[in-house]
Symmetry: C2
Subunit: 357 residues, 2 copies
């Protein structure tokens, strides 16, 4: 039976060399997302990642995506990924500001960077380094997961002509922008997405902020609050992929590389998808809903918002050295990046607008 | 020897199931790029694609990148990929306008779309469809390969105050913008990159266009031509990956998916890299070279440029039905997209600038 042994050895050799066990092993993961699984474009990146890693691995690396309608715990995504019930999550970093205020930097800041500036900070500045530093305490890895570009400033039942018009206003607006509005006398509340339209219609709230024309028009807000304000508070909201670190470390280097590639494609692609959808919706809005009044907040109101933003950020920075450090990194990067944005894209658009006059 | 046959059958079974021959076969490709292999950020996308597919395939899909310094034929990249000497190329689509004028649409147009608008057209409009239609005749596949954002309008020895200042001016500027300048009385020439500085210094040319602050400052143009004009002619120059179709069809579906993912990551990433480098260079320029005079062309000059652009595009459209069709697709998409750009990013930057005053 010597020949049998030789052949068995050959089997082992072929199996081990041509087909490394680590790379070809079937891996089945689950991903929990904060959104309903049909809520594009927010739900597009996880679906695309699942499709891409399946194709790249020849059907051996499978990620099952579960939307909010399945797991019923949209704001427990970080906990579920940390605990290992899900190997991955897709959400927004600023939802975790109650756990760690430093998570807010990886979504967007009021009066902060644009999408191009922010991606440059993530990949060619200190963004990825700081993001991982913040998420290390949760034992999860965090990656950019898609960008909405500039979000609109929200829908208001009445026009905002001065700071007085904000006092006592009841508004749904989450995150730091909510803290800023609160400083200006707004009664800030949070209301689940499913109840937003009814709350606005019945006057439980006077105003709300959602995303942008593509997603907003589907919600019908324009029917009950005709003033649509341009954005200042979320100039480049980045979504977030979360990966359980232990699960990631068990992946072969090949699967790790596939996952990294897929996440980066999906984050860029969501920006393009949302941009295209917003452009389409904005155009349609002007013909289908001519009663919508598009406004920019008056300059004195914006000045007060900026002052309040700096106060809110300053008070967090005074309490937390890491907050102070990341804020300084973003501000220094933005100062350089903004000059380039102004001389390149901004100046170009300004020129083309002048030519049309 | 029956047991030997059984074991051999087992070997085949293991090899075929756990390790599909198509996916695990070693593939060695070569990629020719139009640039020297150290000319970042233009040379970054091919290097990144090679690194990514190597990692994702566990070292079995290898792409050797060869720069201009090796193959000495920067403007024969399309021919070499078509002929199969190289399986891949990295270049700029508008370099092939002598072979087919319709290739220009996939780089940029004077007064055309911005980077975000153009990627939205590629992936969520008709861009990819038209690009493949144009490249089918060369039997190559074409994909976005990185974007420079708005390119600067070039370096001039003298200030341009009127259309008269353009008459008789000797300028290096390639592509459609060269045709536009020629219509305005400029003597347009093309000069190899290595001779540009000397030509400008000695007065062989009075002006030239290159890329943007990151790459321009390294060339030293500011020392001999202090007027630096903002951009109008290449608002979003997209680089290009070329893939020989027969070679691509021989890849396993897994390797095809890896290559697609890597190209899409690399194209997005070059935009971030170039943005970060431009921001850094612009900031440094202002302190290190305060004598550089940044200017925007006067409105009457820009009006003449726009009129000439439309005439050039119109005459190509009159000759070629496909040109007419793609131009109409870009214009229709841009009309919608630009409204959204103006209300989102442009309005946001405008607001932040007003707040600084």
């Amino acid at each position: 039976m010597k020949i049998v042994k030789i052949i068995l050895a050959a089997v082992m050799l072929i199996t081990m060399s041509g087909n490394p066990a680590s790379a070809s092993r079937t891996v089945k993961w689950k991903l929990a997302e904060t959104w309903p699984s049909n809520l594009t474009p927010l739900a597009s990146p996880p679906a695309l990642v699942a499709k891409m890693v399946e194709e790249m691995s020849g059907g051996k690396f499978i990620i099952r995506v579960e939307g909010k309608e399945k797991h019923k715990a949209p704001l427990a995504v970080l906990d579920m990924v940390k605990g290992g019930q899900y190997q991955m999550g897709h959400s927004g970093s600023y939802y975790w500001k109650g756990k760690d205020i430093n998570t807010i930097f990886f979504t967007t800041l009021p009066f902060g960077m644009t999408t191009a500036e922010q991606y440059a900070w993530f990949y060619y500045g200190d963004g990825m380094k700081y993001m991982q530093q913040v998420y290390d305490r949760f034992k999860v890895l965090s990656y950019p997961g898609g960008n909405t570009g500039v979000q609109m400033g929200g829908w208001f039942k009445k026009e905002i002509n001065s700071l007085d018009d904000l006092k006592g206003l009841k508004m749904r607006i989450p995150g730091l922008a909510g803290e800023v509005f609160a400083k200006l006398g707004v009664n800030v509340t949070n209301i689940p997405a499913g109840e937003l339209y009814t709350s606005l219609d019945r006057g439980t709230i006077d105003a709300l902020e959602w995303v942008g024309p593509g997603m907003d028009i589907r919600m019908g807000f324009h029917k009950v609050a005709p003033y649509y304000y341009t954005g200042w508070h979320e100039p480049a909201s980045e979504m977030q992929f979360l990966v359980n670190k232990r699960a990631y470390d068990k992946l072969s280097p090949e699967y790790q590389a596939m996952l990294q590639a897929a996440m980066k494609v999906a984050s860029a692609d969501m920006y393009y998808e949302n941009f295209a959808e917003s452009a389409e919706a904005w155009d349609k809005m002007k013909t289908d809903f001519p009663d919508i009044k598009v406004k920019t907040f008056p300059l004195p109101v914006l000045k007060a918002m900026k002052k309040a933003t700096n106060e809110v950020l300053g008070s967090y920075a005074a309490e937390d050295p890491l907050f102070k450090e990341i804020l300084a990194s973003q501000r220094a990067f933005m100062q350089k990046a903004r000059q380039w944005t102004v001389i390149s894209d901004y100046n170009y658009i300004k020129t083309t607008l002048e030519l049309e006059q």
